[in-house]
């Protein structure tokens, strides 16, 4: 087990190095000029700025410095907010994105299991039809349309009741989290509902459920221990990729709901060609995802010894 863990971690470190290098190379082949500002600067000022960001050195040297700083956990100073460290930006904004992501995954997982089970129980009856219609909507409507419509609906609800039931946008309190997390988790929830439904249906028809019924086990026990529990397994296995998709797919929701997450920051940085922030955020997200995947794998290995052998 230790050897396996060590091996996976080593692989992770190499992968992160690869991501860092790829990001570095990508950013340094971008046509354009991160120093250019609205008011044109003299050569002297440009040279000062270039020196400040180490852009005056040869590429190889810049790379060595970059990797060195990265090992120290230092991503440098932002180009647009020249008095802010990229580290500060990540530290302040990542928890927001993570909060949103965790909630969205929770919504998606719990909702998916609930609706999936319900549709399987009521298959081909009205609740099934209604939920599956919503699922189809959830799968086929782009998230930015959902976000915009969700917000519009909130305004109208608030105006209708004359009080603010849920905030329209912003961040800071628990009530601010609900709608954005729901919107963010919507697509995944729809996907998981479908998965759960077919997995449930397979189990409902399985021999051991029939046996359990024949044996006269109480209905609660059959449903909970035999059906639900086994049907959830395939849902659990796709949660890993779902987490990754939700964490980086949060941009849209963060943009529409004015949430100060790292995703929105990344998009802004791209639009302002803020080299250091783009590199820092990409490498940070990349590393985060790599180690999340390793963690999930290790957990599986812990639960299921067969994985380790492979």
């Amino acid at each position: 087990m230790w050897q396996y863990t060590l091996k996976r971690l080593l692989q992770g470190v190499i992968t992160v190095w690869f991501i860092a290098t790829a990001t570095f190379l990508a950013m340094h082949s971008v046509p354009g000029d991160p120093i250019s500002g609205e008011r044109a600067a003299t050569e002297a000022i440009r040279a000062n700025l270039a020196a400040r960001y180490g852009l005056d050195k040869p590429l190889g040297e810049q790379y060595v410095i970059y990797i060195g700083n990265f090992l120290k956990g230092d991503f440098g100073i932002s180009f647009t907010q020249q008095n802010r460290q990229v580290n500060d930006i990540i530290r302040e904004h990542f928890p927001v994105s993570a909060t949103l992501g965790i909630l969205a995954v929770l919504f998606a997982a719990l909702g998916g299991v609930l609706w999936g089970a319900l549709t399987a129980i009521y298959r081909n009856r009205l609740p099934d039809t209604i939920i599956m219609f919503l699922v189809i909507l959830g799968i086929s409507v782009p998230s930015f349309v959902f976000a915009a419509l969700g917000q519009l609906a909130l305004v109208n609800i608030n105006n209708f009741f004359g009080v603010s039931i849920l905030p329209v946008a912003g961040w800071g309190t628990v009530s601010h989290m609900i709608v954005p997390a729901l919107v963010l988790g919507m697509g995944t929830m729809a996907y998981l509902t479908r998965l759960m439904r077919s997995s449930m249906l397979e189990i409902i028809h399985s021999d051991y459920v029939r046996t359990a019924k024949a044996k006269g086990l109480p209905a609660e026990r059959i449903f909970l221990k035999h059906q639900l529990r086994n049907a959830i397994l395939p849902v659990v296995t796709v949660l890993g990729p779902a987490i990754a998709a939700i964490t980086t797919g949060g941009f849209v929701v963060e943009l529409v709901f004015a949430i100060p997450g790292l995703g929105r920051y990344f998009v802004q940085a791209v639009q302002q060609l803020d080299y250091t922030v783009i590199m820092g955020t990409t490498v940070f997200y990349g590393s985060f995802l790599v180690f999340m995947v390793i963690l999930v794998d290790l957990l599986y290995g812990w639960i299921d010894p067969r994985v380790r052998v492979q």
């Binding site: 302040e92 089970a117 961040w171 943009l255």
Partner: protein, 569 residues
């Protein structure tokens, strides 16, 4: 084999019952997680956002928005409008603009500009937000820091009228040689390179704000990065700044004119560029002011909102590349392009927002002349929409260039919504009226500037915003030495007129020079005017005294006040 139906039904019922229990548990789990996450987030420092409404009469405060997180509140490096708006609330320099946009006393109670010498006498009660006195040394430090080559400030040029400032900024002379001295704690003396007519207006600009040296050094290079890493000289101070989320201004008790500041606090409760989100927030009474797009006007009228408009001072135009070898160096082609478009159509039909005006001149309508506005005294030459004439000029251009067909002409534009619309509009207009093939080169803002600087374009959608309230802020744009003249227009007569306007102390002579510049720009078709930008906005009827203007803080709440509903008209 057939199971009794009652059993199947019973099973379903029991399953649903259990799912109901499950969903209750799920909701509980989610709520618990939400509170846990909120608690953890609270530990990492970000304040909870107050759920206050747009106007809080009880606490005498209002909530508003910002378009983006202020990128730079270090006044030595700040360049953008949003930072300028925030700085305009929390900082004050020697002089400031009053409600009628005239220069008035700020931290200096008295000033004297005589020839190449300017003297400012600071108020006795000018204090930083920590209670310490603001001294003349704080100005000397701030100005020298801006000029320090190591700081690399993009706005250092705004100090260049001061003696030796340019040389110090390029590193040719020591910073100590810059012509600004503190005679004592309350007297600041400035020596200029030569007499200039608009130095008082320059001094009101944000780069001229003071900085306490002691405080600056104590922030370890993070001056202006957080609410705590700034010392405030203006009517408000920042008490919290959650990056990207919210900022809170509270009345600065040490401000010398605190008696005339009516609000106790201003909450910047939301930071977003999304116009739909902002509209929704305004509808939900979360913010006291909202800018409207053309598409929102109908809804705004239906809601019976009180609408206002203002011009934000910027002028937008198509600029040409005058580098040798470019087609756009041909005057007849430029004339053809001008006569083939109707600037009124772009503004009235496509942008269709009241407040926008066709840009007939590089000098916007609000600039002051000698007595009246500059444009009243020196009317812009009228261009007409005349496709037949345009085609004639195009034929002449073809002959001069010795070509029968024009190759595709590159129109560089940035990716802002209005630039996207305008570029497509012009593409179609020139295709329809002149048969020209315009290819759009859409680039993000910084890339557009980089491409302009390197000369990689034929036409470019560009614009300019004023730094100070004098026509010169626009007039020198196309001077051959100006680095912002990215199309490299070079005209000796224009250069001479700019020099006159820079050096003369006589307003009449200067305005005449600006008038001539306006004519040269028209005759040479140095640009094709698109529009002067305006904004339409709705304000909460309970909030009065909001100023919106072209120079300084774009939206100024410093003198705003709340009128309770009953007395509001």
């Amino acid at each position: 084999m057939q199971e009794p139906i009652s059993t199947e039904e019973g099973f379903t019922r029991s399953a649903v019952k259990q799912l109901a229990v499950f969903s209750v548990l799920a909701v509980l789990v989610i709520v618990a997680v939400m509170y846990a996450l909120n608690f953890i987030a609270g530990l990492t420092g970000s304040d909870s956002q107050s759920a206050a409404g747009a106007v809080d009469i009880e606490n005498n405060e209002i909530s508003v928005f910002l378009r983006q997180d202020p990128p730079q509140l270090d006044s030595t490096r700040s360049t953008d409008v949003v930072s300028g708006t925030v700085l305009g609330h929390v900082m004050e320099g020697l002089l400031r603009y009053d409600e009628n946009f005239e220069i008035t006393a700020g931290l200096a109670e008295r000033w004297e500009i005589e020839g190449t010498k300017a003297t400012f006498w600071l108020r006795e009660d000018a204090r930083w937000s920590n209670g310490e006195a603001i001294t003349a040394h704080d100005f000397v430090f701030a100005w020298r820091t801006t000029l320090d080559p190591a700081v690399g400030s993009q706005y250092a040029f705004i100090f260049y009228p001061i003696k030796n400032a340019e040389a110090a900024n390029t590193g040719d002379m020591p910073l100590e040689s810059v012509g600004v001295r503190a005679l004592d704690d309350r007297t600041l003396e400035v020596e200029l390179e030569q007499p200039i007519a608009y130095f008082d207006k320059l001094v009101a600009f944000s780069t001229y704000f003071p900085i306490s040296e002691e405080f600056y050094e104590s922030t370890n290079g993070r001056y202006g990065a957080e609410a705590e890493s700034l010392l405030y000289s203006g009517p408000f101070r920042m008490t919290s700044w959650v990056h990207g989320a919210s900022i809170r201004f509270e009345k600065n008790p040490y401000y010398w004119d605190a008696d005339n500041i009516h609000l106790d606090a201003i909450n910047i409760a939301y930071i977003t560029e999304d116009t739909n989100t902002l509209l929704n927030l305004y509808k939900d009474s979360r913010i006291a002011l909202v800018d409207l797009t053309a598409e929102m006007l109908e809804g705004a009228m239906q809601q019976r909102w009180h609408l206002d408009r203002f011009m934000d001072g910027s002028v937008f135009y198509i600029e040409f590349n005058h580098r040798p070898g470019r087609l756009s160096t041909n005057l007849n082609l430029r004339k053809a392009l001008r006569y083939a478009q109707d600037d009124g159509e772009l503004v009235d039909r496509v942008i269709k927002l009241p407040g926008y005006l066709p840009a007939k001149s590089v000098f916007p309508v609000w600039l002051r002349g000698v007595e009246d506005t500059f444009r009243e005294e020196y009317p812009a030459p009228e261009s007409e929409y005349n496709v037949a004439l345009a085609r004639e000029y195009l034929e002449k251009a073809k002959q001069e260039l010795g070509i029968t067909e024009f190759p595709p002409i590159v129109l560089l534009a940035d990716t802002s919504p209005v630039a996207t619309i305008s570029s497509q509009y012009y593409q179609e207009v020139y295709k329809k009226n002149l048969g020209l093939d315009i290819v759009i080169d859409p680039q993000i803002f910084r890339q557009r500037l980089a491409k302009m600087s390197s000369g990689d374009f034929d036409l470019v959608l560009s614009g300019w915003g004023p730094d100070y309230n004098d026509p010169l802020t626009f007039a020198d744009l196309f001077a051959s030495w100006n680095l912002n003249n990215r199309g490299h227009f070079d005209n000796a007569e224009l250069d001479a007129q700019v020099r006159i306007a820079q050096n003369s102390m006589d307003q009449r002579v200067r305005m005449d020079a600006f008038g001539k510049i306006q004519d040269i720009l028209f005759d040479e078709v140095v640009f094709i005017g698109n529009y002067e930008r305006g904004r339409v906005y709705a304000t909460n009827p309970q909030v009065k005294g909001i100023l919106r203007r072209a120079i300084g803080a774009e939206t100024d709440f410093t003198r705003a006040y709340i009128v309770p509903e009953s007395t509001a008209p």
